[in-house]
């Protein structure tokens, strides 16, 4: 029996996911940007000149200083200016990024896990449980999300945790629906039948064979939902709910600076807005490319 080794398809034609990812210049820009932003957020306490959440550190006398101004004592330069409270905007942005990313990633991860599990349960069980889960999903998806968020937050009160909870409650349905749909599609594929033919138990097929194939679209949704969650949080903050004013997220910084837009103190909302924009664009760029390289069709 011959062993066909000499003529395997060269690996180069199908380079690894990362290699393929890196081939798109815009995606690389997005990735670099995102890395920088995540780095900035993670190490905010180390990098930031000021702890903007510490009221003793900020001085209302320094309020609304232009970018590049020095503080009263002259020992600190506000590179991006200060906000209406005298907060160093650079620090506020770094910390705000932390909050925003926490909200975005936190809600996406929790909702993703919850939704995926429920979606798989629905696909796998069928019948009543399926119908029940899917009706709840329909219900959630047919509600005006932002209004529900407003109600929920009015009820729960402000706070990062509550915002995440609210977003999770609103978002899990998307994952559940996608996961279920995807699981049903994947479930019909030959490889699932092949796995059955190998006598593997259903649960194992579900978790080890079907689930991994459902993940790429879910990952892409998750990446987009991170962006969505960040914007939603910003909007909620703008509408007066969201995170506490003393620990502003990017969205809240923008919303707070909103009142200064007409007064010429553009930087108060411009820089946070720009960071927000960059973060979301970066996430979207990365997600877009992920969508391309994780597309199952590129594997099949």
């Amino acid at each position: 029996m011959s062993v066909t080794s000499a003529t395997v398809r060269p690996v180069k034609a199908r380079a690894g996911t990362l290699r393929r990812f890196l081939r798109s210049p815009t995606a690389v820009v997005g990735l670099v940007l995102l890395t920088l932003l995540i780095f900035g957020a993670l190490f905010a306490p180390q990098i930031a000149p000021q702890n903007p959440f510490d009221l003793r550190a900020i001085d209302v006398m320094d309020a609304r200083l232009e970018p590049g101004s020095k503080n009263l004592a002259g020992d600190l330069t506000y590179w991006l200016g200060t906000d209406g409270q005298g907060r160093d905007l650079l620090s506020a942005i770094l910390y705000g990024l932390r909050t925003s990313l926490t909200v975005g990633v936190g809600s996406a991860v929790i909702a993703g896990v919850l939704g995926t599990v429920l979606g798989l349960i629905a696909a796998w069980s069928g019948g009543f449980l399926d119908a029940l889960i899917m009706r709840v999903v329909d219900l959630l998806m047919s509600l005006p999300s932002i209004l529900i968020a407003l109600l929920l937050l009015a009820l729960l009160g402000k706070g990062v945790g509550n915002v995440i909870l609210t977003l999770v409650l609103l978002e899990w349905a998307y994952y559940a629906r996608t996961a279920r749909g995807q699981a049903l599609v994947e479930g019909k594929r030959d490889y699932v039948e092949a796995a059955r033919g190998l006598g593997l138990p259903i649960r194992r097929i579900l978790l080890r064979h079907i689930l991994p194939n459902c993940l790429p679209p879910l990952l892409v949704i998750a990446a987009l939902q991170v962006a969505r969650a960040i914007t939603l949080e910003a909007t909620l903050s703008f509408l007066g709910l969201g995170v506490p004013v003393t620990q502003p997220s990017l969205g809240l910084l923008v919303a707070n600076g909103f009142q200064f837009m007409l007064s010429g103190e553009y930087w108060i909302s411009f820089f946070p807005g720009l960071t927000l924009l960059l973060a979301i664009v970066a996430i979207n760029l990365v997600a877009d490319r992920l969508r391309e390289v994780l597309d199952p069709r590129s594997l099949r």
């Binding site: 209302v60 009142q259 007409l262």
Partner: protein
Amino acid sequence: EDLTIGFADPVSSIDPQLNNHAGDHSVSQHFWPTIVGQRTEGGLIPGLAAEWKNTDPTTWEFKLRDNAVWTDGTPVTADDVAFSYQRALDVPGSVASFKSFLRTVDKVEVKDPHTVVITTKAPDPILPINLSSIYIVSKHVGETATTDDYNSGKAMVTSGPYAFVSYTPGDRIEMKRDDNYWGDKQVWDKVSYRYIANPAARTAALLSGDVDVIDKVSVSDIKTLEDNNKVKVWSYPGLRVLILQPSFNPEPNKFITDNAGKPLDKNPLLDVKVRQALNMAINREAVVDRVMRGGATVATQWMPADTFGYDPDHAEIAFDPDGAKKLLSDAGYPEGFKLTMHVPGDRYPLAPETAQAIAQFWSRIGVQTQVEVVPFSVYSGAANKNEYAMSMIGWGNGTAEGTYAMTSILATNDKEKGLGASNWGRYSNPKLDEALAAASSEFDDAKREAIIKDAVKVVMDDVGIIPLFHYKNIWASRPDLKVVPYNSDRTEAMQVSKAE
């Protein structure tokens, strides 16, 4: 010529007796007469009643003018007045009723078509001031009209400077000059009264020429507008004061803890030294300048200067952080403590920002202060139950005299008598309660003012409240217009004239 006004306060209805809301008042002023008028400058002025007098401490007689007519041509009579005061008491669906203005009234009698006699339960020197807030509607239309009929325009048979044209809820009210109006003839042929809630949107609307006048100009925009020669800013001292109310609740409060976060077993705010320390730690000038950007004046008591009951002896509260620290340690808190201050996010302009600035000042003397901004819907319930350690209230001294605030926010909370309704911190000082009782029945203005001034001293020495600043009333307009304040912070077409 036409005028378009962009105003900030929501209007719940154009039924003038439904709700005692600021926006509703502003609108009603155009259409409906009051028996006595009130002006920011100069106190009471004749309204429907050209003159009035007390025949005895509990009896008032109002003489109505005879040239007042409704838009349908029928004259305005004493019957209308009596009907209106009755309707104001029991108009269905009212949630913020006008009742409190009539609290002391015992009965309203029609002596003749142009004379109304009002008897009060107890002597009430400020009855005319209260009556200046109640609008007179016509009896013959009003008897059968519902709120919906006013909103639809069916019952809008008016007798004010302007006559009704149309009302689009949530959007605008259109009106035209009423040429049969008995008072001063108005400049504007037509007035469009547009609701623009968002301050930035109001400014933008003015700048883009959508509207001619806006009210409640956002303080952050003042400077831009002042620098812009296409608009003019009209800023006047106002009657609304922003106050902190410390909680006098003796129970441990989860919002006051030691620095480790354990609730203190005794409320430090009960100690006057602590209150003084907190009061002195605030740099009010800085707040007014940096946060309010000149859109406010420093408050050292609940009434602004030059109002009835203002005590010039208390014109200053020293900013003295070191003194404050000392007082704190005298009181037994050398390391300070932790405090959470609550503030509604959607009620008083720049209240959250102000609270954060205060928190900075307090944190620097060792009282680590957290600010929690909550929606008013949540805030009002909790504040009312005295759940917060430090709450904030914006009080509009609409009557321009001192007892109004004393009744509601300083008097010992007493459900029976209806006192201290907004005394969220449950401050209680017998001396103040006595002063209030005395002032309420004192007809001699000079004596009454003296009583109130004494009360100011009592409260401020005791730091029963921590006043912060008085909001200014700010309008902005096209450069060729002139806006003068008229009746506190109300916004009316009557205030706007052409600049010479």
